[in-house]
Symmetry: C2
Subunit: 435 residues, 2 copies
């Protein structure tokens, strides 16, 4: 066998097969079955939501909740879906493509025009929930240390932009100033969240080890993030038309899509490498690319880049939302003692983001909708809570199991109330303007 | 910690994050960087191939070979790409979408019209290489048992349809009868390969254990495969218009794409579950779906299903071919002793498939092109060889390390010569017809 083993390497050639799996079976079989289930469930959920006058994304989330919690009724067919590595990656690719597509609908100049509003909205949207979260911690968990209260505050600061972007797209409102303020604020929020995470965990680590907290690391993280955003938006705007013109000189079909995706993927990777969420890079790539980037490619197909991306997002985006729904554990809601802390956290999470509307510069903006658009917390809040669970202080985790579960419920609630609330507030704003 | 552990479950909620990875990093970062490299490499390779008058797929393969063998020059940046699980799955999804797209270009009726030719082409394309491979084994490895010779023959029978389908698409020849004969023969070939694999390994296992070989298993496998193909093509043609009409009644965007993909994925899964290659199911799904399936969806978008699928295949298909190239180990060619066996195997592999042209019923067909189109062996030959390496007879593997390496070289050579050879023979056939 020793002679054979090194040759196993060359087995990789062309194989695309698992060397351990000599039978004529292909692991893609299970993946495509899950994809078929997700695609159909998404459309059924979207249809049901549309019939109730709700954005399709709410239906996709709820279809996911049904699939993911059928095991409570004894049906465990769909359990592998929740943890399948390929489905997980396709979902991540889906939200990346969604933010790229959303970015394509605006330009850097349009975003800068509401830049001041976005900045103040993001700042208030971080400070107020942080203070409220700290206060909730001090009120309901007086026996815990101030570090724990600070960490609870930190978990309330984040904004998960995927849900809001999708609702705005479902309602055809991506071109509004409200949408641009929210999306810009979400990007700035991501940078601020990164810094807060570094500062809070730096202070706690220092406290645990008895050393003094160093703020140099946080400053370095902030500097990298700002350099990335400013660099991408200035250098990108200047350099990308040249890159695209050079790429368009190649022969072959599908060049525009390939150029757009490669640009989006490169910036997403760079954002992730800096420590930002990759979706921030995808969104920046979308902002940078404008119609004139497609011009040199016009001879081959006459479709715009958005037209090319649309089928990709139609396939991949529902995977993200159905999976998000499927991973919602309804069991989390079964502990009454926990529900009090969770309920107060939810109120603080929603109320805290309403302060955002005070940050808007200038008139004619539907302030309530901006506040509601900032509500969903998503994965960033969980990353914070998770980090707190891993940090030890006086021999026990900073974020206890009960606090962690309450944060999970807060994330679920803020995510699911956003689609109907945002639809209602946008309709209300539009009615006011016409009356 | 015990209190915290069960709650880790609820961490899955919304998270899409690795619980072990508390930092603000997303594993999609590495995947999208690899995707950007693959997309750009594919276009550069395709451009170079087009400049040399070759099909784009040859350029994508060679771009992959460069990426995958740069480590020989000390550059190991791209090594993770070869074994990344997500890239592997996206490649498999790519070849599935390619065969679905290729299937969409023909109908079941058109395939049945050349069905007799396909059947005889497949039969000769299995029997002749099997006999030649057996002969090569008996000639060059006289000290080995007849089982080994039979296994070498079996590895030469397979046809890997991905390359040929892609070349025919690159050249805009998918609508020709030659294309339909090759594609139909490749599907039948897959069924025959499945049966041969069962028979040969059944006989060897029986010989090793001293028991008598049972042919009931092979018969059962054949029956399942035939029932799947006949069932899919009759029941599918009858049932799918009803399913599509019902689905079209849902509200929401992207319904046609979702219906088409779900249908393709469901049949791919079913094919894989039966034991056939999932691409056979995807191809069957493409054949079944026709323009009238899209009609009920016409109100929403006015794009045909093929238009919806095209951007997906533009993104995913190059991943398959670049990865195939990247996994080609040039080191396999460095052993001179091996090259004799490999060279003779290559001659047998190419010559054996030329017998296919005798199976074509009726005139006006470019017989040489059909023979060349059947040449690439791809992953199925390797699956056979791999199975032989796992089977033990008299305490040593039926397929030794040296034979395995020779098979790998045969697979590489037959795959890389097909694009230029097929382009040449199709041009020659067209010139003859017009002269």
């Amino acid at each position: 066998m020793l002679e054979y083993l090194p040759l196993c390497d060359s087995l990789g050639v062309f194989a695309l097969i698992d060397p351990a799996n000599a039978a004529h079976t292909d692991p893609i079989g299970n993946v495509v079955l899950m994809l078929a289930v997700i695609l159909i469930a998404a459309k059924l959920g979207g249809h049901a939501a549309a019939r109730c006058g709700q954005p399709a994304v709410l239906g996709e989330l709820l279809a996911g909740v049904v699939i993911g919690n059928l095991y409570l009724a004894g049906v465990s067919w769909f359990e592998p879906l929740k943890s399948d590595a390929t489905i997980d990656m396709l979902a991540r690719l889906g939200v990346l493509i969604l933010l790229f597509e959303v970015g394509l609908e605006s330009t850097v100049a349009q975003m800068l025009r509401v830049g001041a509003s976005s900045f103040f909205v993001a700042t208030l949207g971080v400070l107020t929930p942080f203070a409220l979260g700290w206060g909730v911690g001090a009120w309901l968990l007086p026996e815990e240390s101030g570090y724990v209260h600070a960490f609870i505050g930190a978990t309330l600061t984040a904004t998960s932009v995927g849900i809001t972007a999708r609702v705005l797209r479902d309602l055809g409102r991506l071109q509004s100033n409200e949408a641009r303020i929210i999306l810009g604020a979400a990007v700035i929020d991501d940078v601020m969240g990164l810094v807060i995470l570094a500062v809070v965990s730096g202070i706690i680590t220092a406290a645990a080890s008895g050393a003094e907290a160093s703020l140099a690391d946080s400053g370095w993280i902030l500097a990298k993030a700002v350099v990335f955003l400013v660099g991408a938006l200035t250098l990108g705007v200047w350099l990308s038309p040249h890159l695209f013109r050079a790429y368009a000189k190649l022969s072959g079909p599908g060049l525009l899509l390939s150029a757009g995706l490669a640009f989006c993927f490169a910036l997403s990777w760079l954002a992730g490498w800096i420590g930002l969420a990759p979706i921030v890079g995808a969104f920046a790539a979308g902002l940078i690319l404008e119609d004139h980037h497609s011009m040199p490619f016009a001879e081959s197909g006459h479709r715009s880049l958005a037209d090319w991306i649309h089928p990709l997002s139609s396939m991949l985006v529902p995977i993200f939302f159905v999976l998000m729904g499927a991973r919602t554990e309804l069991r989390a809601f079964q502990d009454p003692a926990l529900l009090i802390l969770a309920g107060v956290l939810c109120v603080a999470a929603v109320a805290g983001k309403q302060a955002c509307s005070l940050g808007i510069v200038g008139g004619g903006i539907d302030r309530l909708s901006v506040g509601i658009g900032m509500v969903p917390r998503g994965e960033v809040g969980l990353i914070f809570a998770n980090m707190g669970a891993a940090l030890q202080l006086d021999g026990k985790p900073v974020v206890s199991g009960a606090v962690f579960s309450a944060v999970v419920i807060m994330v679920i609630v803020t995510t699911f109330i956003t689609p109907p609330a945002l639809k209602w507030s946008l309709a209300r704003g539009a009615a006011r303007r016409t009356s």
